[in-house]
């Protein structure tokens, strides 16, 4: 047995995890590349495939031209390089290569990278080493060149936001004076125009909330109640901004985030083994917001990576659900904020079970507590343990399994599923995984109900020897 292979030991000393088909497909930027990548996920067009101890994979893919495309993927990133002209990211060749890797282990010889792959991989590692050295820390690159000018810019922007908030207060007051019933007739234009004013005031957070008010009007039974709730919260945000000097620092940071001022991740970085719990995209006007939920094994923290893709382009950041990455995360400021920025990655580690969970009965209180730090929170992440999906009058709910063990029982506690979850195919995956028995499920609990994002297959864990279920199943 070879004790050393002359270079550095494999990262984190853990076995390098191979991504599964589902995980790879989740990286596809759109359905077309998913389909194209799937077609390339067979040995047919590939040659010269290989992988190394860090998990990097490479191969030559025969295309329509005479020279095959050179594709290489570094899963610590993940980062992709391909000689094809595609502007999609990752391209179909990278997806195909990863799919082949996922389904056909025999096709990959463990070897030293081919020259062309080695060049790129070495370049990446050299860059990674540079940025992680203390002399060239990530912060200094982003830091302002002229602090005085930057402060002046920030003050000007704050003034504009203040103007916007005051104008918005005026509009809300007018609205309440005339009555919400009138908005039903005035239509969408009212809100669009106000939202545009908030964009001008450089307060995108206010603009987004105003636009949402427009969607509530006439959105079905009970809309006046929902509209009044959101108007109240928007008013609270205006008032908080206008009085932010008197707020404690964390709450003031939360208010700045909610209003839409750019903040940068500044907390001390947390290195941990982060389990990727969920990744999903939310269309937001012309851009797409991608949310990735992580759970830190050592720290017990839950963190949210937020990234954006402009005009039809998916966000570049993508992590395979179910993988565990050894990485540094830098938290953003603000009370009750889970958002963080992904820093240096040290490699992937083998899959592991779900985070420790709580009962459905305890979940609303967790959300309630989080509201103390951020009253504008719609929902808060929780892992529910041993819950059973149950059909209810107007949808589905998840009920605690252990409140009363026999079927037909109506005691114990349950959480209704959020309306958004009811139309998603993931609902049926959750029900299938449960089979009427208890499952562990990660999602968000909020005033609209529980929205499940990922569950752990209870059937698999039994055979695998794990007590809490096997692999993660994506529900979004």
């Amino acid at each position: 047995m070879q004790l050393s292979h002359g270079g550095e030991p494999s990262p984190a000393g853990a076995p390098v995890a191979r991504w599964s088909v589902e995980q790879v497909l989740a990286l596809a930027p759109d359905t077309a590349s998913r389909k194209a990548g799937t077609r390339l996920g067979a040995a047919g067009p590939w040659s010269g495939t290989g992988c190394d101890a860090t998990g990097a994979v490479w191969g030559l893919c025969k295309g329509s031209g005479s020279t095959p495309y050179r594709t290489v993927v570094d899963p610590t990133g993940p980062a992709y390089q391909c000689s094809c002209p595609s502007r999609k990211f990752p391209c179909k060749h990278a997806l195909g290569l990863l799919l082949l890797r996922a389904s056909d282990d025999a096709a990959f010889r463990s070897a030293e990278p081919a020259d062309w792959a080695e060049e790129w991989l070495a370049g990446r590692r050299a860059r990674a080493a540079r940025t992680s050295s203390p002399a060239a820390g990530g912060g200094s690159v982003r830091g302002p060149a002229d602090p005085a000018a930057a402060r002046k810019r920030a003050e000007r922007r704050a003034e504009r936001v203040t103007g916007g908030a005051q104008e918005l207060e005026q509009r809300l007051a007018d609205l309440l004076r005339g009555g919400l019933a009138a908005t039903d007739r005035s239509g969408y234009g009212l809100w669009e125009e106000t939202a545009a004013r908030m964009v001008d005031a450089q307060a995108p957070g206010l603009a987004a909330r105003v636009r949402e008010l427009g969607a509530i009007t006439g959105s079905g039974p009970g809309w006046p109640v929902r509209l009044l709730e959101e108007c109240g919260l928007l008013h609270l945000l205006d008032a908080a901004w206008l009085g932010r000097d008197r707020l404690p620092d964390p709450l003031a940071a939360t208010v700045r985030t909610r209003v839409g001022l750019p903040l940068s991740a500044e907390g001390p970085p947390v290195r941990d083994h982060w389990l990727v719990l969920a990744q999903y995209d939310i269309p937001d006007g012309k851009i797409v917001a991608r949310r990735i939920w992580l759970y830190g094994r050592g720290s017990g923290r839950t963190a949210l990576l937020l990234s954006f893709g402009a005009a039809g382009r998916p966000p570049a950041q993508a992590l395979p659900v179910g993988a565990t990455i050894d990485a540094e995360l830098t938290p953003y400021p603000g009370g009750g904020q889970l958002r963080a920025e992904l820093g240096e990655q040290f490699g992937a580690t083998a899959a592991a079970g779900p985070p420790p969970g709580i009962a459905a009965a305890a979940a609303p209180a967790v959300y309630g507590n989080a509201l103390r730090d951020d009253p504008w929170l719609d929902a808060w992440p929780v892992t529910l343990r041993d819950v059973i999906p149950v059909p209810s009058k107007d949808g589905w709910q998840v009920a605690d399994a252990h409140a009363d063990a026999h079927p037909g029982a109506r005691t114990g506690s349950a959480l209704p599923l959020a309306p958004a979850a009811l139309s998603r195919p993931g609902l049926w995956k959750l029900v299938a995984l449960s089979g009427g028995g208890p499952v562990t499920v990660f999602g968000e609990i909020g005033h609209r109900g529980f929205d499940p994002f990922a569950a752990w297959d209870p059937g698999e864990g039994v055979e695998g020897g794990g007590a809490t279920g096997g692999s993660v199943v994506r529900l979004v």
Partner: protein, 548 residues
């Protein structure tokens, strides 16, 4: 926040305190109607000076308070848990493969040209068949896409539902989109214990129609006479369409034992029941009905020794009497057919084939089929013999009527119809079937082979596979486009033995453009063969994963 100093109006602070104490419903009413019309204030109090702001303050407070104070819901009645599925879980690689196959299915199909990559959707049936043979349990998370696939493609349903197992049925019970799965299950295995005669009798008396059909099938599978006895208990009181369905159940495991019952059914009130009973009896060459039909047919078809060579003379029946009709002969021909030839066809079809060997001096079937037939009756007679060979599952006559595969299609002694030939082939053993079709393809090419290939056992036997590939190679050399053969090509992707992949590799090379060939055909052929090879490799990999 602006303050007012008017002595009569309360200060904003105290106003909002009182507004805060209003019930939520009153705040909503105020907001809906407008604070000008309906100021938010406790009864009797004048509204606060800055009513909108006070209302919004109160609304925010209420909203956050309500959200922070949410309570869990009362659980509804739980569904009965799914029955356990004792089958072992799939090997990991096979599970990934299934996810891959099902994901490809749901993705939108690409452009018209297929390229070199395998069509994964076409491989789902094969994957399911192997998985079911190996007795694996379906992964729970893949049940929804599996049921969706089965919903979209009826041909997938039996295998998909078997694979989905009890968890799949349980899930289908909760989603109306998957109702089809429950329909399948209802006519499946009956829940009754077949060893308990009282339970069987009760279900037979009281069950729903589908349950009774399933019960009859199940009893017949174990003990055919018992099924007949069960059927006889209620036969006269059943409705005509039900009698027809029950009679159909006798088709499996048909034997001489069923003859008395069927003979009795020949005088049934319903014409369809009579016809079905006659058809079943004629499939029993030893039955009395077969003998009666033989006697009638023999009076119509004679050896003719008047000429130099032996031949067959035919005198079609002149009438269709009541006895003939009772034995299932239909008197009225379909439009465009002569009465007498119609009757003749039915008589010959129901006559045991062995009779003819005796009638023509002990000649074997091949020779009888080759005898000339007088007065243009040959087609009529041969077609009827084909139907008889299929109905009686007689390989000797099937072989004779098929003729030698190398003979020109039109001038053979037997049938020229490809549809009839594929039915006759199905009577033969799989090895014989494959070599017959292989020889046919070697002689006549692929243009008519599609239907014949459809009755061959998968994967294709070596000689058959080679014949198909050689024919494709010849078609390429002939300069035609591969999509003229896309049907056979697709069939080859699914049916060729994966072990052929290595031998096929040489065909994937692009060839030089030949004179007279269709432009670009060489490139398309190379692409088509690449797809064939990669599909075969993929099938081999799929199979290996499921064998792991």
């Amino acid at each position: 926040m602006p303050h007012t100093t008017s002595p009569t109006a309360p200060t904003t602070a105290s106003a909002s305190a009182s507004v805060d104490s209003l019930p939520w419903e009153e705040l909503v009413t105020s907001a809906l109607l407008g604070t000008d019309r309906r100021p938010p204030a406790p009864r009797g109090d004048p509204g606060p000076a800055d009513a909108p702001a006070a209302l919004l303050d109160a609304a925010a407070l209420h909203t956050v308070r309500r959200r922070a104070g949410l309570l869990p819901a009362v659980p509804e009645a739980r569904p009965e848990p799914a029955a356990p599925d004792p089958r072992p879980a799939l090997p990991e690689a096979a599970r990934h493969r299934l996810a891959h196959l099902l994901a490809d299915r749901s993705a939108p199909s690409g452009a018209g040209r297929r390229g070199t990559a395998p069509d994964l959707t076409e491989l789902i049936p094969q994957w399911l068949a192997i998985a079911n043979r190996r007795g694996f349990r379906a992964p729970a998370a893949l049940l929804p896409p599996l049921l969706d696939a089965a919903r979209a493609r009826t041909d997938l349903r039996p295998q998909a539902l078997a694979f989905a197992g009890p968890r799949g049925m349980w899930l289908a019970g909760l989603n109306p989109d998957w109702k089809f799965a429950l329909r399948g299950a209802a006519s499946g295995a009956p829940q009754t214990d077949l060893t308990d005669p009282d339970a069987v009798a009760r279900l037979w008396e009281e069950g729903l129609f589908a349950e009774r059909v399933a019960l009859l099938d199940a009893v017949r599978a174990q003990d055919p006479p018992a099924a007949l006895a069960l059927l006889a208990t209620t036969w006269p009181t059943e409705r005509a369409e039900d009698r027809l369905m029950f009679l159909d159940s006798l088709r499996s495991g048909l034997s001489g034992f069923d003859e008395p019952f069927l003979e009795q059914a020949l005088s049934d009130r319903s014409r369809n029941v009579r016809a079905t009973a006659a058809e079943l009896l004629s499939a029993l060459p030893g039955s009395a009905l077969a003998a009666r039909m033989a006697a009638r047919a023999l009076s119509c078809v004679h050896p003719d020794r008047t000429g130099d060579v032996a031949s067959i003379s035919v005198e079609a029946p002149h009438e269709c009497d009541a006895d003939m009709q009772r034995d299932g002969v239909m008197a009225v021909p379909p439009t465009g057919r002569g009465e007498r030839s119609w009757w003749l066809g039915q008589l010959v079809e129901a006559t045991p084939l062995g009779v003819w060997e005796e009638r023509f001096g002990g000649r074997p079937a091949e020779e009888i089929v080759a005898l000339p037939v007088a007065d243009d009756w040959a087609d009529e007679l041969h077609t009827a013999w084909c139907r008889a060979a299929v109905r009686q599952r007689n390989p000797r006559w099937s072989r004779a009527l098929l003729g030698r595969p190398s003979e020109p299609v039109a001038s053979g002694p037997g049938t020229a119809s490809i549809a009839e030939r594929s039915k006759l082939l199905a009577v033969l053993g799989e090895g014989e079937r494959a070599s017959w079709v292989a020889e046919f393809i070697a002689e006549h090419g692929l243009s008519e082979a599609f239907q014949l290939l459809g009755v061959c056992t998968v994967p294709w036997a070596g000689p058959l596979g080679r014949a198909v590939v050689d024919a494709l190679d010849i078609a390429r050399d002939g300069g035609s486009y591969p999509w003229s053969f896309s049907g056979v090509m697709g069939l080859a992707e699914r049916c060729l033995d994966p072990a052929e992949a290595d031998r096929l590799e040489v065909l994937t090379a692009a060839q030089d453009e030949q004179e007279g060939a269709s432009p670009g055909a060489g490139g398309y052929w190379s692409e088509a063969f690449q797809r064939l090879v990669s599909t075969l490799r993929l099938r081999a990999a799929m199979e290996a994963e499921l064998m792991a």
